[in-house]
């Protein structure tokens, strides 16, 4: 069966520090991968998605970046965190696009607090 992991689960970082959040998927190949952010009391905002190694699409311009160095690994990074980067970050995967509407499967999330 497929599983999705995120780490760390919780992170507290000072403003201006770098960030690296990791997401890995097991039990599937060639998945689509997604990063979402959920700010307090708000819905989900899609940040990045990837359809393959090295292929990243950004939905919202900001100081975050994403990379996909391996087929089942998706990394969210920042060189300098802002207070507004605080939130709950969710990674998700789905089967590659087909005619069927494929659902997305979510990881457990990372709670980031920037102080």
């Amino acid at each position: 069966s497929q599983t999705i992991h995120q780490w760390p689960a919780t992170l507290v970082q000072p403003v201006g520090s770098p960030l690296s959040l990791e997401c890995t998927v097991e039990g599937t190949s060639n998945p689509n991968l997604y990063w979402y952010r959920q700010a307090a009391g708000r819905g989900l905002q899609l940040l990045f998605y990837s359809v393959g190694i090295g292929q990243i699409s950004s939905e919202v311009p900001q100081n975050l970046s994403a990379s996909r160095p391996q087929d089942r690994q998706f990394i969210l990074s920042s060189k300098k965190l802002l207070l507004s980067d605080s939130g709950f970050y969710l990674c998700a995967w789905s089967v590659r696009v087909g005619r069927v509407g494929n659902e997305q499967f979510f990881g457990p999330g990372t709670r980031l607090t920037v102080l």
């Binding site: 689509n32 708000r42 819905g43 899609l46 709950f88 969710l90 069927v100 509407g101 659902e103 999330g109």
Partner: protein, 114 residues
Amino acid sequence: AQSVTQPDIHITVSEGASLELRCNYSYGATPYLFWYVQSPGQGLQLLLKYFSGDTLVQGIKGFEAEFKRSQSSFNLRKPSVHWSDAAEYFCAVRLESAGNMLTFGGGTRLMVKP
């Protein structure tokens, strides 16, 4: 612009009472429709989905949802709520033309009174 609306930000129901969470979308074509549930501090779990066919779909945990094309709605229902159902619920839609991109509603937080 495409949008998904969950009109109720918070809902409180008594345990054992029935529940209906509303979801409306604005798209020209019939989208693929999903309901997810999120417990505090957790990721999202898929409750049910609608692609085509029978407009009343059954999901996990006793939930069901009905797609009504005329009302552009996909409301989530449960006949008898349990305390463990307290969570945040998200409606999401996907257009076939949009690849596998989901657009989420703002969420509805459900509280259950004993």
